[in-house]
Symmetry: none
Subunit: 230 residues, 4 copies
DNA sequence: AATGAATGAGGTTTCATTCAT
DNA sequence: TATGAATGAAACCTCATTCAT
């Protein structure tokens, strides 16, 4: 599920319908809620691939095998659809983070697993990165608006704090580290690598998948562990 | 039904309208090249603020105190303008990097300075980040196209390689580090922090300037140094 | 120089403008297909009067009492609209030709009627000529594209073949004539006269309507009949 | 010299010039009048290939290896350039017609040669046809304006009158024919065939060159001769 | 719940033409 | 004579959105 997928080659002209089609229009209701989900899923792909302003309502509805009108029916506007996309993208990530059961593990090992998880999540959900980039472009405009997002917050940060504290208690980690900064560093190393792989590989002439990726994974773990180890 | 019918009074070719121009035209040629520069500068701002698809040609030309037409005169299309913007943004950074004179410095200190430089550059050139993000969104489409960009490459990577080698020679750094990964890590830590400050501060409820920024600067240096030190 | 700068007050996505619409929108849906027909009819007039490149989308939509957008809604592009115009113009002529019931008539008389019909059709459908001229200018570009046109073909050619054969059987016509060439000659004589009347009358200083037209009609019939008569 | 030739692939974007070019502009005067001729020649091709409204000033200047400005320098406007094109196209044809020395020949043979000449001229100067078609589209607008054109007139019509008179005198031709109509018929048969070859061959599925052309040539001569012979 | 039709505003691009040197 | 720079007007086309059924 890369942002390369369907999303339609963007050229397809919406219309040019011939005068033939006269028989009653074929409405195919399917329970309703289903359409909503399909639109949301399509919107994630499209916004991820083209950004907010580049993602066309039309392209989304087409990718959802529905029609423009339904987007307004369910979401009211393109922008509100985008907010829902943001919410879903975050919620999905937080759900995945919640499933991480690292509280019992050895702190160092927990750290390693957390780094790996982050990298894997970004790799398997690249849409998350581009959508966040977009939100950063707009200076957090929608994130700020969304009540849902403000109410929640990343379970991973809490997790990181717990891991860190246990590491300190066990005498494994130095005590003068801010868990938030540690946490952000994990994100940073992985976010950058995944998000910038296209421009990077253009310059470095090497693709950043395969062995390079494995090497980076080891390196990122190493950097993080060394950052806290006494 | 002859072709004579209403269809409007007009005239087949636009030239027939000649002489009707009213109000004195205010053309203020200035040697040409100047306009080009102004457009490029304006485009950097606008694309940085709104992205490629969100950055309106019209807004750019106005910001450059010129008119749409000149964009096409000098650049041919919005997209080619974007490519030039990309080129300029990279070139500017590489020029700044070239001014770094860290070859004589103590390797550790050189590393520290390099981290600091990167952070400062991103902070003072945030347009670089959003423009790169956009390019990543488009999967490096334009970077790949630009011959200029492919021919050049970051002086900083070379610099980092030299610093690292000297550190190893002096017995300060461990020998099993890939300079490229070290280099990317410096970028990653700073890129992420600056690029994501809006969404991050929305979630973390704290702004990431001021003291937080100072703290991050120290932390980033620390992370990098620890990553290579024996 | 942050992306915050002036650059205009706007908003990245157009949707933010919502709700500002003033004055009541006057949409007058009419079942749809009607608008399509009106556009097509208007397009015939406009393209006939100004050619493909001279025929402005804007002028067409206004003549159809609709708006530009609907042209794209129904036809996709100006060029596809032109193709449909071509198709319609041909189809209309072929329909008219189909109504010719000349199979029972005396071959000579049938020939005469056919010549007259052609002249009359061109006179009453001058748009046909200019549109065809345009297509010839473009070297048959659109005719070649249209599947519909390629599938069909002029009933008149068949008719001409039948008339000719009967004439030969009855010993009225000489046997060494190619019906296709005979047919083309009928078109040629009438096409030229009607199509070139403006330039011709400019040079000849006489208008080609009225008596001149009557005279030409007799002449054309005469030429064609003499061409085949034994 | 078909209208297919250079004329530039129409896609070439006029500008997108880089900021490099700083040295003094290279003016390469060449005697002046030469440029004028080159523009006129280029304009004939371009207007022939695209019509008046479709023929871009820019494309013309480029095809003439000059620049837009020179068109205005020499011709004042696109439309006046078109008028000159019209004039030249007519003048060239009249010159060719003047070279026809058919006054001594046998009337029948003269007729045959005249038909052949017309066909050949159209075939070798297809630009003539499309440019005339264009002028007809515009209802003779420019032809009417041009004083030069009105002062002159086709030598061929005079020639035809002389041939016809001699034919009548010799008892070869019937006496009740209007030479003008005879003349127009010659033009018509050839004009139609050459002008419509693209659309015709699209429908008839056969190209109209080669053998078909030879056949048509014989046929046209035959039609004309039969039209006047007693 | 679902959809075809309609639309205003504006987006990118092109055009003929003029200015200034 | 020649040319680069500049420009208003408009061309084609697209977008998000609403109406009406």
């Amino acid at each position: 599920m890369t942002e390369q997928t369907p999303v339609a080659p963007s050229t397809a002209s919406r219309s040019a319908r011939k005068g033939k089609r006269r028989g009653r229009p074929k409405k195919q209701p399917n329970g309703g809620i289903d359409t909503r989900e399909k639109i949301l899923a399509a919107a994630i792909k499209v916004f991820a691939a083209r950004g907010l302003s580049g993602g066309r309502v039309n392209v989304i509805s087409r990718a959802a095998r529905s029609n423009d009108r339904m987007i307004y029916y369910y979401f009211g506007s393109k922008e509100r659809l985008f907010v829902e996309v943001l919410e879903k993208v975050y919620r999905d990530m937080w759900e995945a983070e919640s499933a991480l059961a690292l509280d019992q593990a050895d702190p160092i090992e927990a750290l390693e697993k957390f780094v790996g998880f982050t990298l894997d999540y970004y790799l398997s959900h690249p849409e998350m990165l581009t959508i966040l980039n977009n939100e950063n472009l707009l200076q957090g405009k929608h994130v700020t608006k969304s009540k849902k997002l403000k109410e929640l917050s990343s379970p991973a940060l809490d997790l990181m704090e717990r891991i860190y504290r246990r590491g300190v208690e066990k005498g494994l980690f130095r005590a003068d580290v801010k868990p938030l900064e540690l946490y952000l560093s994990v994100l940073a190393l992985n976010y950058f690598y995944v998000s910038n792989r296209y421009t990077l590989s253009a310059f470095l002439g090497a693709d950043l998948t395969g062995d390079s990726l494995k090497s980076w994974r080891r390196w990122a773990v190493d950097v993080i562990v060394r950052a806290v180890r006494v």
